[in-house]
Each structure stands twice: as C-alpha cells, then as structure tokens.
Subunit: 289 residues, 2 copies
Amino acid sequence: MLGAIETGGTKFVCAIGDEKGNIAERIQIPTTEPGETLAKVIAFFQQHRLDALGIGSFGPVDVNRDSQTYGYITSTPKTAWRNYPLIQTLKEAFPVPIGFNTDVNAAALGEITHGAARGLDSCLYITVGTGIGAGAVLQGKLLQGLSHPEMGHILVRRHPDDHYQGKCPFHHDCLEGLAAGPSIEERWGDKVINLADRREVWDLEGYYLAQALMQYILILSPKRIILGGGVMNQKQVFTSIYTYLEDFLNDYVSLPKISDYIVSPGLGNDAGITGSLILAYQAWEEANQ
Amino acid sequence: MLGAIETGGTKFVCAIGDEKGNIAERIQIPTTEPGETLAKVIAFFQQHRLDALGIGSFGPVDVNRDSQTYGYITSTPKTAWRNYPLIQTLKEAFPVPIGFNTDVNAAALGEITHGAARGLDSCLYITVGTGIGAGAVLQGKLLQGLSHPEMGHILVRRHPDDHYQGKCPFHHDCLEGLAAGPSIEERWGDKVINLADRREVWDLEGYYLAQALMQYILILSPKRIILGGGVMNQKQVFTSIYTYLEDFLNDYVSLPKISDYIVSPGLGNDAGITGSLILAYQAWEEANQ
C-alpha cells in the first residue's frame, strides 16, 4: 500500500493508492500549525499498512539528499512552517521509504506518467494559483540542480498599460508578483471568479504567462507544457497565451501545434497527489533494488 | 584515435585527441561554403585512423535522433549552410560512430568533465560573442528536449536609459539583440576592444547578462555557471553581473559565493573542442557496448 501527501498552504491532501494512480481513499486536512496538522496526517496513515510514502510539498523545500536539512520546508513565508523537518517527523511515525519533492515536480511526474504528457520523456507543469510554480521532467528525470526550480519568480516585461506595482515580497513585479491569483484580484479589485467576463483581465494575464512560457521553452525545450491551478480554470487565458506566444517567438523555434503543445492537466486537480504516489513507489523501488 | 570538430560561423576547429581532453594535433579551417570547407575537414581527418568523431556545431541544428533531418544545420542565417546535412556528409567519408550536439552543449560537456565544473553533475555554459548561446549538463546529461535550448533569445527588461533598438532579426531586443558583441559595437559605435575603458558599457552589459542569469538560475538551478566567449574577456563584466544579480535575486534563492558560482571557463577557448572529443568518445562507447 502506498501513501501520498500533497502539502499546500491551505490544505494537506493525503491518499492511499498504488503507482498506477488508483486512489483507494483520501482525506483533506487543513493546514494550521505543524504539530496539529501532522498529528492528523499521521492518524490517517496509521489506519493503513504503508509500504512507502511520497510527498509533494509546497516550498521552498530542501531537496538535496546530502544536506543536513534534507526534507525540511525552508524559507516559506508561513512562519510556523519555516525550517520544519517534514520528512523527519513522518519518518519517526512511519519507518518506510519516503520519496520527497516539490508539489509541482510531483505534479509534473503525475502528468508524464498518467496524464497529459503520457508517453513523452519531458514535460513542464506550471500551476497558476495563489502563487506560480513549475516543475519539470527532462529526459525522464525530475529537474533538480543546486535546488529545485523557482520558475514562478522569473522577470517579465511589464505591459506598458499596466501600472499595478506587483505583489511579490522579494521581487515586486516578477511573474508571480504580476500574474498569480492575488495579484489579479488586487490589480482589478475583485475576485477572479467575478472577473471572468472582463476580457482585458485575461488578455493581460496571457501576455505575462506567454512571456514566461517563451523563457521556459527557450531554456528547457520541454516536449509538452501543462498549465494547471485555479487561475487556469479561466480557459480564455489559453487563447491569449497562444496569440502572444506566437507573436513573441516569431517562428524562431519550431513547435508542435500550439493547442496540442500547451494544454490543461490530464489529471485535473489530481496531478500532484498522483505524482506523490509515484514518488512513494520510486522510493520503495530504490529501497528494494 | 578520436576526432573532434567545433564548427563556427568563421572557422571550423578540427582536432585529433583522446577523451581525457589531450589534443595531439589541430587545425583551423575558414568557414566558407559547405563543399569547400568540408573537403578540407575531410582531408585533415583522412590523415588519421579515426575510431569515432564528435561534432559541436553552430546552430540551430537538428539534434533529434528520430528525425529525418538529424545532424542537419537547419535555419541558420548563413544561407549556404541552411539545411546542410553535416553528419551525413562526414558519415560518408568516415564510417565511424559520430557524436553530435550544439557547440555550447559540447562546451558545457567539456567544462564539466575537465574544466571549471569538474566534479559536479550540473553546469550551465554560456558564450557571449557574435551571438549568445548556452548549453547545460543537468544530472549528468546534456540538456535536450523538443530540441536543443536557445537560451540566447530570452527576453530581458530594457534598461530605462538604453534606447538602442536591438539587433536580433527575430526578436529585436531579446538578450542576444541587446547584449551580444555586434549589439555592443553598434550601440556604442566602436569595436569591443576600444570600449574596454568605458565603464558604462560594461555596467549595462552586466545589467542584461545578470537578468539572463537570474532566469537561468530560477529555471534550471545549475550547480555552476561558466561564462565564455569574446565579450567575457572584458573581465569587468563579471563585477557588474555579480552586483546586479544579487540585487535582482534579493536573497530569494541561496547560492554559493557568487565569484565561485559564476566563473570563467577552466578550459579557456578549448571548452568546445574538448567537449567534442568527449562526444566522440561517448559515441564510440555507445557503439561498442
């Protein structure tokens, strides 16, 4: 039996399932303070005989296995969770192999294994919601270097008509600062859901996301790009992205048909939890080689 | 005996050597039209008994082994070389295993094996010269997805005081359009060599390159960054890059000491040809498994 946890800023999704992405049981636990949240997580999994556990976590996290703080949530703005030893806490409760990565890397793994990038050896998964993050599989492996990517914070060129100051506490008007959900709502003064019919909102959103995709394509050359997260439920953003991206790239690189290349998640909201099951399976395989 | 070719817009460097990067003999052949240039390349290698050949080529090139045009130089602005079957021509002359990649991927491979990134499993190699290009090794493998990266063409934010229009025929004021050698010379009206003492020239250059490095770091998280090419012989650019990059990143990601992290090539001008020898060796190994 495999256990999976997708940790998020508002909730922890916990699931029991298999590496094929079948989910037998799942619960959601609100993200409050670490002791309380983890007690509920542990109580859920103690009802099952776990062979391995996989975690896709909000970040930043320490994914360097050689590091003394491997498995910690590190410099998150959520102060109660800062420098929290997530893996260590779970390892004490469950002495099984534990796979660990970012939530977006887990989602990329889920999508390439069972979702919209199935059959390929590379994909990029981007979530546009309360923040912007991305994970990638390249040549069959989750992207990791010095640390995990932080693709949401790249710089974009400001639209000449956009005078919103940006919301990122580190970089003000980086991509996340201009295009994540809270920025959209602050700029336009209303909830995303109430902005659905405002064409200029989604045109501008596409302008920024297309710039980001241009950078990702030129730097990573992924074989498919998957855009998830709450903001991407506004499907008109895709049209705006396609138009701006073709304009920006100006035929410099040859891409597949753009609506087949830049797509919605095949697994809907389950990309992250499915990927976490696969992380669990990979950890089990590695321990039983 | 391994053969290596580093193809460039002005010259082909051909070498005989081994996988340790030892070069026994080398020549330079001017890049004129393909028939003439390749005849000289083939004549050079016919003096040796080749076991394998490695090529690091200017691009864009087709690096997809499943493609019908694998090994072609594709949409280069050098019209005589457009859609030129480089590997096929060499394969007819030398029926040996041939390794093939971009010049900058070859340089990244050279630097990680024998140069400034030795001992690491990832690095990014950037050349700033007549164009801007980059190659990367990630988790021990050369970066490749849909195609090879085209990192020189990413978008940067224009400096408010910079009114130069940019020189890229595709994107005008992308990174290459604003920061490659010909752009510097056109903007300031003099040869790079004569601009060495103009502090504002290298400050602005660092401003653009630091933006590019920020994007590369957030997206790829390389373990070391190596900056080569003619423009980078102006060592004062490094100081400008360090200053701007720390300002832009604003401590969002934790990096090694910046002067150890962003460095000059360990192999000087031989990164590309050394990497091409390693490409030859890898092709030989693959054929003799």
